[in-house]
Symmetry: C2
Subunit: 356 residues, 2 copies
């Protein structure tokens, strides 16, 4: 049976998503989900679509959603491709732009899916370390370092960065994009929680794509809707290789309704940012070294005990956070910003462990 499977696939180690615990009562601060529900209007729009029409295929081009995105962002529907979550589009990008053997490039630490996608495509991983404190390296530092490939056919930049939560400035991203010869995907999954976004770069540069998702700021993880924006030619190439009905119909309905009720989401984002800043301050008071975050999570080095021990102790106190055991991240915990009550529960658990 083994011989039926491509050697490349036999060798793969799959991506491990954050735990979706089956235990009730756990406070789930491990997968950066939004603590607030979708807007009541969005829930109503979905419910109104749940009838006999489920028997029909959804719009294969997500036409109405792309038109709304075009209106919202001030460009054309042809500048958008919608995916079954932005994960699908990240995978499509490796298949559209990277010949097997050539590099998929990314900074580390960042989204741990990129090396998995590189491996699946039979591409070479080119993982280059971020600068001190997870800063974006300057182009001249990248040139000096020698490891960065300015001709890589595909480069992923997570901005704001995950897991550090650090935001990058558009002008710095622009300098990097200008220096890059291949396709650059600015993965803005968390950008709605940041001070600025780099959407304009995808409209100005033919080789730059911006990735967005309805999962995080728009509370629709369950329905799998993300999109890429950019040059029509690049978008058309991705359209050619996607599954014909890649975006489920209720996801399209939900995303369209979301764009019709943005003030609701702006309010929740504001609340979440307020909780983030308060939680950051209180964790610092407990001795955590907290990086400034522009996302819906906090990356913090806990005091007194190793981060892995913190993970276990917080879990024992029914609070689930995430720990990446790679060398550059193993001293930190990644903590999703939940509601104020969830933040308080985390703080109580942390105090309990420290004083316990």
């Amino acid at each position: 049976m083994r011989s039926l499977i491509r050697p490349l696939v036999r060798r793969l180690h799959p991506y491990v998503p954050g735990e979706q615990p089956k235990i009730r009562g756990l406070i789930k601060l491990n997968t950066n989900e939004n603590p607030y529900p979708p807007s009541p209007k969005v829930l109503a729009a979905i419910r109104a679509a749940v009838d006999g029409r489920l028997r029909l295929y959804p719009n294969p081009e997500a036409g109405r959603l792309r038109s709304r995105l075009a209106k919202f962002h001030g460009c054309a529907p042809e500048n958008f491709i919608v995916g079954n979550g932005s994960d699908e589009l990240l995978a499509l990008a490796t298949r559209a732009f990277v010949e097997p053997g050539l590099p998929v490039q990314f900074l580390t630490p960042s989204y741990s899916l990129y090396p998995v996608l590189a491996d699946i495509q039979g591409a070479r991983r080119n993982a280059v370390a971020l600068a001190e404190a997870f800063a974006l390296p300057s182009v001249s530092d990248l040139r000096k370092g020698g490891a960065w490939d300015f001709r890589a056919p595909l480069t992923f930049i997570t901005t704001p960065n995950a897991p550090s939560g650090r935001g990058y400035e558009t002008r710095d991203l622009e300098v990097l994009c200008r220096a890059q010869k291949g396709v650059v995907v600015l993965d803005e999954a968390y950008v709605d929680f940041a001070r600025e976004n780099a959407f304009s770069l995808a409209m100005r540069f033919p080789h730059v794509l911006v990735a967005r998702t309805f999962s995080k700021a728009y509370s629709l993880c369950f329905l799998r809707v993300g999109y890429f924006a950019g040059n029509r030619g690049l978008i058309a190439a991705l359209q050619k290789i996607r599954d014909s009905y890649n975006v489920n119909g209720l996801g399209q309905v939900a995303a369209e309704a979301t764009l019709g009720d943005l003030p609701y989401y702006r309010r929740q984002i504001k609340r979440l940012i307020a909780t983030r800043e308060r939680l950051s301050g209180e964790l610092r008071a407990l001795g955590f070294q907290v990086l400034p975050s522009q996302s819906n999570f906090i990356f913090a080095r806990p005091p007194a005990f190793p981060a892995g021990e913190w993970l276990r102790q917080l879990r024992a106190r029914r609070v689930l956070v995430r720990w990446f055991k790679q060398p550059e991240t193993r001293d930190f915990l990644r903590i999703t910003v939940g509601t104020d009550a969830e933040a308080d529960a985390l703080l109580r658990a942390a105090r309990g462990f420290l004083t316990g």
Copy 2:
């Protein structure tokens, strides 16, 4: 910009899905959707899941659904992978089992997606003609013919066949599977409308997978849920290369609820088959040459005028059917079996054109 895209992708012609018309009042018999809605229990289960939990990721392994499938089919959850429609899984199979340059094999005419998937993978298409009247060729005929590759790493067999609607017997499929060295996917998208299915072959042969979908018999096109069943090793290989959250949560909820209300679907399937047989008879009376169908569509050679002209004339009478203009199918129309009222509308339109 063109040079940023892989030459393989630049050369691709995308799959063209059946038209999803925006005109109201059209009778849509072109994409083999089920005319009956999902069961009221399924609709209720979906509605009950539309709340704040949409903010959470769905089960990444579709664990509960796979357990229910295992119980239903009498095997283990590890024998199943669930996909964003079975289309996603067909694509994954090309990527897991076929090195670029090697053949993806299929019979023609069959599902027009297979050659597209072969092209996307950079594989070679090995398209071999079905026997007379769209019958499954015997292994000895395939050996004599010389075009069939018994060592092809991946072979797709649509059973019942689309677009002909012809059903194949499990014992004939078994002989073919035995002769085949590579992976065989028995694509049973329409099997719920047939007299028999070949599920047992996927449990008996380590190189045979069966593809199923909730789209057709279970009226859930909109939500995109399909699955493969087969050997754990093959299934595990596919699991490694899928997107981590590939099946949207409401799709999982709907498919689970569907398995809890199968008597409802058996009744609708029985109704549909009765309509199919009546429609076949009445079309024959009008001079159509109707192939015996074991699916939810009819493949028929219309009288008096070319099939392409029939397509246009029926559309002018607000009935949409499908026409594939390839040489082996161009004399036929593929007509989805709708409700009795839709069948009557089609018959009226056909009589109108013939006598008009």
